[in-house]
Amino acid sequence: MVDYIRSAYTVPVRMFRDDPLSVVEIKWSFVPEITPPMPWSHAFGSRTWDIGEEEEPLVGELDGPRAWQGGLPTFPLPIIGPSWKDNLGLCGTEAQWKRGCLTSDPVQPVWPFTSVQQCCKRPPSWSNGGVAIGRMLGVPCGECNDLPKLLFAKFVNHPGFPTGANGEWSMEWNAEHGFYQGFHTLPNGNSFEILWTCNVPVHNFFIVSNGAGGGGVGFVNRCYPYKSEFVADCLSPGFGFPVPGWIGDVTISE
């Protein structure tokens, strides 16, 4: 966690202390509250409330307009560890964070097919190739704290994808990382994995994967009573990948 902010935004940042004209644009994202703060003092904190009070720094955020953006996590699952002891997500050296990088500094290797450095967890492979919006389900669920400890989800009416034994599987709350996670193996051997993050209240979303590079992301906006059928009127069209309509009709119930 780099800083506390109320609104996420994009802003031009000077990263290299030996190349002041090299400016890159960064995007702020919100992280789970359990994420520990940066262990070092650094030059890359938010300057939204400092503009005009201090000089524009040699490295760090520049003055000027800041375009608001939602602050959704870069990846739907945390790619940093729950503590810095995990040595996950803490990329770069103390000197780089404090005084900026040099253009001659080596670039850390990234996970294959991603732009995520290997100092972070490997991002979900099923997000490779794109993220797709699933079907919207009705009314907001409410705050994460209101969610039950154990959830059940099931696919209903998803053309092109086999349904297992009544298409239902359970999800358990993973308190450490802040998401629901569940697995379900279909009779034909394919397995589903469903992950429902609660890092962002109201905008809870889930990922479904068949473990073979296919899947999609859906937003869950309603919790249904256990084993109830979904309400067709609450659905809006969505798409998954690689087959449109995969994510289709999912009900989440407790």
Binding site: S41, A43, G45, E54, G64, G130
Partner: protein, 300 residues
């Protein structure tokens, strides 16, 4: 130079900050040693039980930005056991604390996240703070004073006969897309020097979006033309001619709450006075998505 210190408070879905200053040049040491448990406890103890001091951040004020943040989780929160109130209102109860100082007269601070029971209006319409609130605030200010924390005093309008100066144009600096030259009708912005600050007013938001209300001067009369150079990215790199924009020299002073801090004026006498109460809807919590926000997921 000094450090800007920000306390992050939250109260059930609302968040706000409190800003102090300190003569220290080491933000990490400031947060880890000067802002100790005694400071943190006194900062929040007199507030509502559901008011939490979530974190403290110190930022070195200077060209080499250096910022350090420490989170406290739920370690420090207000007390107030035995109060009638069992939950917070939709608004935060606030008090306006006036600090009197010989150097700058009176400076007012919002003290937020209080107990309703501590701020009552009496029969003749006078806001009367409870004894607990007065004692708690005195303890808080005292400990900040002992640690040489300061409050910021903005001198505006500045002394010396300097007045608002009309701005004739704002033009991107060739080759430096993050800087602009603010041209004025004459050089009466002087005697400002590089590193000092100016304040702008009547900035047209349509042609100069996000233009800083205050800015540090990078150059005076750049290119021999009256005006100042500041940091701002003028999109398109064009020249804008705002019809009624003005600029004035601005002076900040950091005054200690009490005691004597190196490089700062000391307060010969200070007096604390709770002037009035209010209730405000505070901001949303830090690190959460805005409730009314819509999210979009784009295929990449």
């Amino acid at each position: 130079m000094a450090c800007k210190v920000t306390f992050f408070y939250e109260q059930v879905g609302s968040g706000w900050t409190e800003t102090w200053y300190h003569a220290s040049n080491d933000p990490k040491s400031l947060v880890k040693t000067v802002i100790d448990a005694n400071v943190l406890k006194r900062a929040v103890d007199f507030r509502h039980p559901l008011t939490y001091l979530k974190a403290a951040r110190a930022t070195f004020i200077g060209q080499q930005k250096d910022s350090y943040t420490l989170s406290y989780g739920s370690d420090y929160h207000g007390s107030g056991a035995g109060l009638v109130e069992v939950g917070p209102d939709v608004v935060s109860a606030d008090a306006v604390l006036a600090v009197d100082a010989q150097q700058f007269g009176r400076k007012r601070m919002f003290i937020r996240g209080l107990n309703d029971e501590d701020i009552r209006r009496n029969a003749v319409g006078r806001d009367v703070p409870s004894g607990a609130l007065q004692a708690g605030l005195t303890n808080y200010i005292n400990v900040m004073s002992q640690r040489a924390f300061c409050i910021q005093k903005i001198t505006n309008p500045p002394t010396g006969g300097i007045a608002w100066v009309p701005v004739t144009s704002v033009k991107a600096v060739v080759g430096i897309p993050t800087q602009v030259d603010v041209k004025t009708v004459d050089d009466v912005v002087a005697p400002i020097v590089v590193g000092e600050r100016v304040r702008f007013s009547r900035v047209p938001s349509d042609t100069l979006p996000g233009f800083p209300p205050n800015a540090v001067v990078i150059a005076v009369n750049p290119g021999g033309v009256a005006g100042v150079r500041i940091s701002y990215s003028l999109r398109g790199g064009v020249e804008v001619f705002p019809p009624s924009m003005r600029v004035i020299r601005l002076a900040y002073e950091y005054q200690p709450i009490g005691g004597v801090a190196v490089g700062f004026f000391s307060l010969v006498a200070n007096k604390l006075n709770i002037e009035r109460f209010s209730a405000h809807k505070t901001g949303r919590p830090f690190g959460l998505l805005r409730g009314r926000a819509r999210s979009k997921v784009h295929a990449h």
